[in-house]
Symmetry: C2
Subunit: 185 residues, 2 copies
């Protein structure tokens, strides 16, 4: 009882929930190494790798069409924010990685929106972040979707995502629109 009472207070962990779908999925198939519905605690200092090679990847896909390292996730903290954020980087020279509507080639990276769809080849991964307090650790959780996520979530969204869109505004005393990049990447 005293060890329980003296233990450090547990901090809420940021959780990245990943709902995966592949049209060829079946029991003991491409997702056989993924533990579904189990939260796994990981140090936020470490890069998390996804791909075919179990030597270097945290999460592997049993599929020869997947690169040894397909993509990686990095934890970081935005300026002015107290919570963890994720950055995704395409590590494959052969396959593009699509984050919502944006195409990432080899070594391109973007900050991950709190809810977004990742696609490469026939793979679909819906990523949803639940904020926590701890900066030292975070959790991952995988869910298997029986159906394509593109239809279910009406993905990709039809409206441009604010992060990538241009805003057009009019100066009160001018007739010509003025275009600015609100968020240069």
């Amino acid at each position: 009882m005293s060890s329980f009472e003296d233990a450090d207070t547990e901090e809420m962990l940021t959780c990245l929930q990943m709902t995966v779908y592949h049209p060829g999925q079946q029991p003991n198939g491409i997702f056989q190494s993924i533990g579904f519905h189990k939260r796994e605690k990981l140090p936020s200092r470490e890069e998390v790798k996804f791909g075919r090679s179990s030597k270097v990847c945290n999460y592997t896909f049993q599929d020869r069409q997947v690169s040894r390292v397909q993509f990686s996730l990095q934890l970081f903290k935005k300026f002015g924010s107290s919570v963890l954020s994720f950055e995704i980087k395409n590590m494959s020279k052969k396959t593009s990685l699509i984050v919502d509507n944006r195409t990432l080639d080899f070594l391109h990276k973007v900050d991950l929106p709190d809810r977004c769809m990742i696609r490469f080849g026939d793979y679909q991964i819906l990523m949803e972040k639940e904020d926590g307090v701890s900066l030292e650790f975070f959790e991952t959780e995988f869910i298997l979707s029986p159906r394509s996520l593109l239809q279910e979530n009406d993905w990709p969204p039809q409206n441009p995502i604010p992060e990538y869109c241009h805003s057009v505004w009019f100066s009160p005393q001018s007739t010509s629109p003025m275009e600015t990049d609100e968020n240069e990447l």
Copy 2:
């Protein structure tokens, strides 16, 4: 001779030259594990770590005031660019990392300007990137400075760095200045 003739054409490598200085430096001191004036070839997919722990860091400082991992560098490719770029992330909970005039706390990251000054504690590292062609590999090179780099390079710069400054412009038919963030981070 034929193996020479048949070998893959060598690609120019991006080189990150790091000129280091610490007021307490001496032979066989804090920089004893660093090989000066030797170019080292590294895979661009891998994170490069700097700190006290030789178990996890590529480059170590023999100094108890340095964190086990002090900071890390990530290679990536900017959208629309064909060359490698670097991102730096502060991995220390105890020490701030200063990139030019910008202070990074634990897990803060920024894209590294092509020439910039990194500081933490009494350490000064002038980082200078020389662009190459290869995306697979890059090189590092260390140089030891006998003098403080802050005086020698007139660092930190007195003028605000374009990346972090706000531009103020006037609409032709308006008298009030309009402020926009040109590069939101």
